[in-house]
C-alpha cells in the first residue's frame, strides 16, 4: 500500500487522477462512500484553485493512522504569487467562483475537519486539509487481534 501519493497539477484534466487517488486512499482508510466523495470534492476545489490562479502545483495525499482515529491528509502546494488576504480566502466573504457562493477554498474547508492555509505574497501557497474517521471499539479489537495473530 502506498502511504503517500503526489500528483502534478497543471490543467483541468489533472483533477481526475488527483480525485481518483484521493478517493482510493479514503476507501483504504475505511471512509464511507459519502465521505470519500466529499474528500474527492475538496481535492477538486484546491486543485482547481491551483489551475485557475497559479497554473501549476501539486497535490500530496497521505494516510494518517492514530490509535483511535485514521484520516486522509491533503496538501495542495504551488509557487505562485501567494494570497494577500488569507482570511478572506479562507472565510469566503467573496471568492473567485462567484459572489459569495462559498465554493472554492472556503467550500473545501467546510468539507474537511482541519484546514490550514499558509501563504505569503511572493512565496506561494500551501493548503493543508485533513478528514478524520473515528475508529470504534470493534475495529480496535479486530486490529489488536490481527496484530496478535501476526506476532504469533
Amino acid at each position: 500500500m502506498r502511504d503517500e501519493v503526489r500528483i502534478a497539477i497543471a490543467a483541468d484534466a489533472d483533477l481526475i487522477p488527483a480525485r481518483a487517488e484521493g478517493r482510493a486512499l479514503a476507501e483504504r482508510q475505511g471512509f464511507s462512500r459519502t465521505d470519500a466523495t466529499l474528500i474527492a470534492t475538496a481535492i477538486s476545489e484546491v486543485a482547481r484553485n491551483i489551475v485557475v490562479h497559479v497554473g501549476r502545483g501539486e497535490i500530496v495525499l497521505r494516510a494518517l493512522d492514530e490509535r483511535a482515529r485514521c484520516g486522509v491528509l491533503v496538501l495542495a502546494r504551488d509557487d505562485g504569487p501567494g494570497i494577500w488576504d488569507v482570511e478572506r480566502a479562507i472565510q469566503g466573504f467573496t471568492n473567485s467562483s462567484g459572489p459569495g457562493l462559498g465554493l472554492g477554498l472556503p467550500g473545501a474547508r467546510r468539507l474537511m475537519d482541519e484546514f490550514e492555509l499558509d501563504s505569503q505574497p511572493g512565496t506561494g501557497t500551501t493548503v493543508k486539509m485533513i478528514k478524520w474517521r473515528s475508529r470504534d471499539e470493534l475495529e480496535l479489537l479486530r486490529e489488536r487481534r490481527r496484530r496478535r495473530e501476526r506476532a504469533d
Binding site: L15, I16, P17, R19, A20, R23, R33, T34, T37, L38, A40, T41, S44, E45, V86, E87, I90, Q91, G92, S97, G98, L101, G102, L103, P106, G107, A108, R110, L111, E116, L117
Partner: protein, 278 residues
Amino acid sequence: MNGPTEFGTAYASALTAYLRDGDERARTTAYELGREAATIGLGVMDVAEAHHAAVAAALGDGASATEVATAAGDIFLETLSAFEMLARGLAEARDVAERERRHAAILRQLSNFLADASLAASAEGSTHEILHLVAEQARELIGGACCVANVGADHDAVAARAASFAPDEAPLGARLALADLSRLEELMRSSGAVARLDPREWLDPAAVGSHDGAKAVRSWVAVALARLDGRSIGFIHAFDRRPRAFTSADGEVLLQLAQMGSAALERAELYARQAADG
C-alpha cells in the same frame, strides 16, 4: 448550460458514461455539473428531477437494475457535493449571525457589570475586578485558550493583570498570566489598533511553546486599553493553540470590549479620586 433541461441532458450523459466506463472521468463530469448547476442557481430538486429521468432512461435501455442503482448513487453523490458545500456555507453564515447577536447581548450585560465594578470600594479592587471581567468576557466573546487583560505601572492605579482560561488550559493560563508581553505592547503603543500574529515569534517559548504533548500557542490577538485622550493604559490579549484562530471580526469585538473596559477604568479612577478628596 443555462437551465434545468440542459442540465438534465448533461446529467443523463454523465450517468451513461459512468455505466459504460465506471471511471473517475465520468464522476468528475458529474461533480463539475453539480458545481455549474449550483453556480447558475439550480436547486437540489432540479438535480433530483434530472436524476430520476436519467435512471428511468438507463433502465429503459436495458441496463441491469443493480448496476444502474449503484452507478446512479455515485453520480448523484458527486453532483450533490457542490450543494453540500453551499449548505454548509449557509449554516456557517447562520452561526456567524447568531454569534453576533450573542456578542451584542453579552456586551450590553457587560456594560452594567463594568458600571458596578467602577464603584468598588477601592481603586485597586476596582481595577482588578474590571480586568477580571474584561478577560472573562473576552474569552466568552471570541473563544480562545486564554485571555489576559492588564494595565501598566504608568497607569494612575497600580499595575495589574487578570487571566481567564479554558478549564483544561490552567497551566497555559498560569504561564501567560506571568509572561512578559511588553515587546508587543511597545509596538502596539506606536501602531495602535489590533495586532494579530503568531506568538511564537514574539514570546518566550517557555510561555507559548509545546508542553506535555500539548501543541504550541499559534494565534494571538491583542488590542490596547486607552484613555479618552488616546494614551494606552493597558491591553487585552487572547491566545489559542489553533493557527489563525482569530478573525478580523474577533479583533473588532475586542476593540469594542476594550473601549468599554477603558471607560470603566477611567470612571473607577474618577470615583476613587472623588472619594479621596472627600
